[in-house]
Every structure is written in C-alpha cells, then in structure tokens.
C-alpha cells in the first residue's frame, strides 16, 4: 500500500490552479457556514503522521501538491518546537514562521519546483501574488490547527497539555520523501 493521497479532487472549472497548485477552499472562509468544514488543512494533518514515513510519493491529483507542501510545512513547524515549548510561545513562533517563510512555488528558490513540474514562465504577476496570499493563509490555518492538535494531552483528547505531545514531536526528525521546504 503506497502513501496516502489527497481526496480533494480538483475540478479546474471551479478551483483556480496557479503554478500547478490548486487554491482549494479553506474552511476558515465561507465553507464553515456551508457545513463542510473538513478542508485540505485537516486532511494534511490527518495524513501527516502516516505519510512522513514514506520516501516515495506519486502526485496523481494536483491537490497532492498542496498535500505535499502542507506535510513538509508541518515538518518544518515541528522542528521549530522543542519538547518544552509552551503553547503561547508556539503560537507566536509558528505565526511568525507562517508570515516569514514566503517562497512561492515557481520562484527559483523554491526547492520542489522540479517535483511539482512547475513551469512558471507564463504565470502573471497577479497570479503569483494570489498564490502567495493563498499559501500564507493556508500556512496560518495549518499552523493554528497544528498547535491545537499538538497541545492536547495524548491520554485524554479533551484536555490541553502544557508542552507539545511527544507523539507529535517524534515526527519532527522524519522527512517526507527525504525533502524539506
């Protein structure tokens, strides 16, 4: 059984795709109202633990790219935390990280350009900007949700923990496909 793929099948009629990255709806926008709150960020968090073990991943759907990006992003987030970081510190750190790290796929210093098969020569500046905005929002949502999950007591999912759960931290050294952002 190979690594898990995203279940968000992109239909280009409804979802805009820039630089091969689909701008899938994030639940923080309007979809919460529509009741469909499970979005790509939730999926990234769900599949993160299983997929980090894999070294090969075949991109079938363009949403897999977003999934890959998300998983690698969580990885970088976890490596910022230590076993003793408090929750408030973590929120700050990860927020700043989400704002700062703003290399957009398609830019020359984005490491996964090859893998994502991005050809950005035809992309307009406006699209670049839109993708940048979208990914920043994506990262912020992801970081927020991650903090919620990491700071839960592993023995009792309803309780909050003081320090990050070691059952999340154990993945901080793992590298999905031996890559990092």
């Amino acid at each position: 059984m190979p690594a898990y793929h995203s279940t968000f099948i992109v239909d280009e009629r409804y979802t805009k795709v820039i630089n091969n990255i689909p701008l899938l709806a994030l639940a923080s926008d309007n979809s919460v109202i529509s009741g469909d709150s499970y979005d790509i960020t939730d999926e990234v968090l769900d599949l993160f633990k299983a997929n980090t073990f894999f070294k090969n991943f075949e991109i079938i759907n363009s949403s897999d790219r977003l999934l890959t990006y998300g998983i690698l992003y969580i990885n970088s987030c976890l490596s910022l935390l230590s076993f003793t970081t408090s929750k408030n510190d973590a929120i700050k750190k990860l927020y700043n990280f989400a704002i700062d790290s703003n290399v957009v796929p398609g830019e020359p210093n984005f490491k996964l350009n090859n893998m994502f098969m991005i050809n950005s020569s035809t992309t307009s500046r406006g699209d670049f900007e839109e993708l940048k905005q979208y990914l920043q929002a994506f990262r912020i949502v992801l970081a927020n949700k991650l903090v919620q999950r990491v700071y839960t007591d592993f023995k009792d999912a309803t309780k909050e923990a003081e320090v990050p759960s070691k059952f999340w931290m154990q993945f901080s050294k793992k590298k999905f496909m031996n890559k990092s952002l």
Partner: protein
C-alpha cells in the same frame, strides 16, 4: 512394557534460535540462541583445582548454575539476559587449568551469551542464513544439546533434524556424518522446514484436508521466506526472500522510541514492546486517528532494573501498529527493499506451475515468531485477495469470460511460533516415523549419500 520406545528427538536449528525437544510434546523443551562461546585460549582465571574439587563442584549444592538458565528462557533470538548476576556462578568450567580439554571448554545457548561477557570466551553463531557455516562449532553445539540439555544417549534415539529449503545435499551428508559417526545415532530423518510448517498447520481447525501443498511464510529473526510447497516438495525456483524480519521490527521500534525521547530506548525494551503490544492494523491513517481520539489506545511499559529498585515508565504509542506494518509497507523503514509482503506472496505463487497455484493460494501458512502479531494473517489474506481479485477482474474484462475465482486463505494457528518444531514433533511421534529414518546400519552399508533422499511422510491419515 516397551522400554525401547524412546521418544524421537526433534531439533530445529535456526539462524537465530534453536528449538530442542521430544516428539509428542506440544512445545519444544528448550528454545535458545544458536550461539556457541568457545575459549579464546587466554586463560585469565587461575584455576588449579584438582579433579576431586571439580567433582564436588558439580554437586547438588551448585544450584546457582542451573538457576541461570532456568530464568533465561527468552522467546526471542535477540536475547537479553537478566540474570547477569549468575555469570560468575556459571563460569565455573574449571577446564582452563586442564591441558588437552580445550575442546570441551565451551558453552551454548543463553549460557554462551553470558560466558561471552568475559574475556575468556568468544561468541559465534554457527548457522548463517539458515545454513551451517562452521561444522566444528555445530558439532559441539549438538554434542552439548544432546548430552547436557536433552540428556539423551544418541544411540538410543531417532533424530529429526530440519534444514532450510535449497540446502545443498553436501550439507545433508555432513549432518549425516556427524550424527552417525560421532554420535552413533539410532536413526536420522532430515526434513525441510517449510514442509514441517505445513504439517504444523494441520492443528488449525481451518485445515480440513491434510495436504502438503501450500505457501509457507516463515519469518524469524533475520529473513522472511516465502516458500511454495507442492505435494511435500519445495518449488525451489519460486522461493522469495524479504530482508525484513523480527530484528528490523525491533530496530524500527527502537528508532521510534528514540525519536520520541523516551527514558529507555534500549533494544531490550524495544523487543519487549514488540512482543507485548504490537498488532497489525487494517489501515494506518484510521489507526492514527483512533489513537488521537482515544487516549486509552496508548499503553505503558514499565522498565525495572535488575534489583527492582528503580522503575521507568515508557509510553507506547503508534509503534504498536506501525512496527508490524513494515511487512506491508517496507518503504516506511527500508530504502532499498520496497515490495510489500502480500505482493511478494502473489508473485511467488504466480511463478509456480499453473496447476498448483490454486492450492498455494488456498493454503498460505504462517510460521515463525515474527508472524505472531495479532491480525497478521487477516491483513495478509485481505491484501492478497485484493491483488488477486483485481487481476481476475482485469482478465475478465479483457477476455469477456467469467472466472471461477480463486479462494485465498491464510492459516494462522496456535503453534505458529515454533511451527517448524511442532510439525516435526507431530511427524516424529507417529508409529511409522522409525521406518522413514535412515539407520546407522544403512549408513554403514551405503555411506553418507543415503541421506540425499528421504521418503515423504504418508499424509493420508
């Protein structure tokens, strides 16, 4: 009352573990590492005892010596001995002072592991990849197993030994030379491990016809074999190996424990967690979610030091299902071997002659300690079935005809851990066993080549 009806001795010498016992028992009497500690020649101890003294050293009062191996009956090849305190008691061979008895100065099994802690002995494993590498050591290993552990006079017993598939016939002859010439054993039968594992599966209620056709998945400490057997004969050309087995699982668990910064991430702890907590999950993502929702899935393992003064609590988490998962997704721990076990099983069977394939799919038998995880058989059955059904569907589409389908069945049973030994015990306790053995008289008459062939057991019972 027939006194000459001694039970046959069943010996299964594996790469990691040796199982010794008597036919008719339901479990081996001894399970210990196939290890031998031989003297390095540097005698550090100054033992200048007289014969009389060493006589008395073997007395009843010396119960310490015996206690050491009483307490160390581990079930794993990667053995960890908790009774290190006994090591001083056990190292009282008193042979270092006697000239000319160096060949008797050695230990086997758990005692060998203990002895090797001192400078005086060096440890070696006479069997590599299932085959005997060092015959000198093996001969002495047998010598000690027979006389010290089993306390049998080989002249009075028949022996059933096992061999790996594709064992060269020369090795069989070597075994015969040792058993007939050194030990004068009454009778010898050498059986292929996979065939015995098939026989052991007869104890499962799932098995209705006692056939010797099936696919054996034998996973021990070092390697996992997939061995197709048709009518008692191994289809050698189709055998496949997976370089993933018990040791890799233990290492994988250890790595996870380290990543998580647990207080104790020794191999010993990893081994214990593997044996106590691991199971096979149907789907890992779902299993991860279950753990995140329900904290009771996490377990705790307590590490105590030797004198039980300090305790460490080790939390056990995802490794419970992730570790056995490496059979089904080797990718998660190995970078060079990527074929999942179910795929390999399917490939193995497809490389066999077409007329036995159905029987091979029908009777997939598990054997060895690393197949003992809960639901291992069920997951394997499901995955193989999925592969087979997909292929059938595809061919149905292409040909437009309806296939009768293939029934995939994985048999797991209670004797799985020592399946090979148990199969040997089953066969050797039958009345006819003696007639299948080659005897010392045969050997003297024809020479070692008689052991190249053994008649198969009559399976129609």
């Amino acid at each position: 009352m027939s006194y000459l009806n001694n039970p046959a001795v069943v010996m299964d010498n594996g790469t990691g573990l040796t199982k010794l016992g008597f036919a008719g028992n339901d479990s081996p009497s001894y399970v210990f590492p196939t290890a031998i500690a031989t003297t390095t020649g540097k005698s550090t101890g100054s033992s200048t005892r007289t014969v009389d003294q060493s006589f008395s050293n073997l007395s009843v009062s010396d119960s310490n010596t015996s206690k050491a191996y009483l307490t160390s009956n581990s079930t794993s090849a990667t053995n960890f001995n908790s009774s290190a305190t006994h090591s001083s008691a056990i190292l009282s061979n008193h042979l270092s002072g006697k000239r000319g008895t160096e060949d008797l100065d050695f230990y086997i099994g758990n005692e060998a592991l203990l002895a090797s802690q001192s400078q005086q002995y060096s440890l070696s494993y006479p069997i590599r990849h299932g085959q005997v590498e060092n015959w000198d050591h093996m001969e002495r290993f047998w010598e000690n197993s027979i006389f010290k552990y089993l306390r049998t006079e080989p002249e009075d017993h028949c022996f059933l030994l096992t061999e790996p598939p594709l064992n060269p016939p020369e090795n069989r002859e070597q075994v015969a030379e040792i058993f007939f010439e050194s030990f004068n054993c009454a009778g010898l039968y050498i059986a292929v491990q996979a065939v015995l594992a098939l026989a052991a599966s007869w104890s499962s209620p799932k098995v209705t016809d006692r056939s010797l056709t099936g696919t054996v998945i034998d996973s021990g400490d070092g390697v996992t074999h997939v061995i197709p057997v048709a009518e008692g004969y191994v289809i050698g050309s189709a055998i496949k190996n997976v370089p993933i087995a018990g040791r890799d699982i233990t290492n994988f668990i250890q790595q996870i424990l380290r990543d998580r910064g647990e207080l104790d991430a020794s191999l010993k702890t990893a081994e214990a967690i593997k044996q106590e907590f691991c199971y096979v999950a149907p789907d890992i993502v779902k299993e991860f979610n279950k753990y995140d929702r329900d904290g009771s899935k996490f377990a705790q393992y307590i590490v105590e030091n030797q004198d039980k003064t300090s305790r460490k609590l080790i939390d056990v988490g995802y490794e419970r299902f992730l570790a056995p998962e490496i059979f089904f997704n080797p990718e998660i721990c190995s970078s060079d071997f990527l074929t999942p076990l179910p795929t390999l099983v399917d490939e193995t069977i497809r490389s066999c002659p077409i007329d036995v394939r159905k029987g091979l799919y029908n009777n997939i038998v598990l054997s060895g300690g690393s197949t003992m995880f809960k639901d291992f058989g069920r997951r394997l059955q499901r995955d193989v079935k999925t592969i087979v059904n997909k292929r059938i569907e595809h061919s149905e589409q292409l040909s437009g005809t309806k296939s009768t389908g293939i029934d995939v069945q994985v048999v797991s049973h209670r004797r799985q851990r020592n399946a090979v030994w148990f199969g040997g015990s089953l066969l050797a306790q039958t009345g006819e066993f003696k007639s299948y053995c080659h005897t010392k008289a045969d050997y003297d008459e024809y020479g070692p080549e008689i052991v190249r062939t053994f008649s198969l057991f009559n399976v129609a019972q």
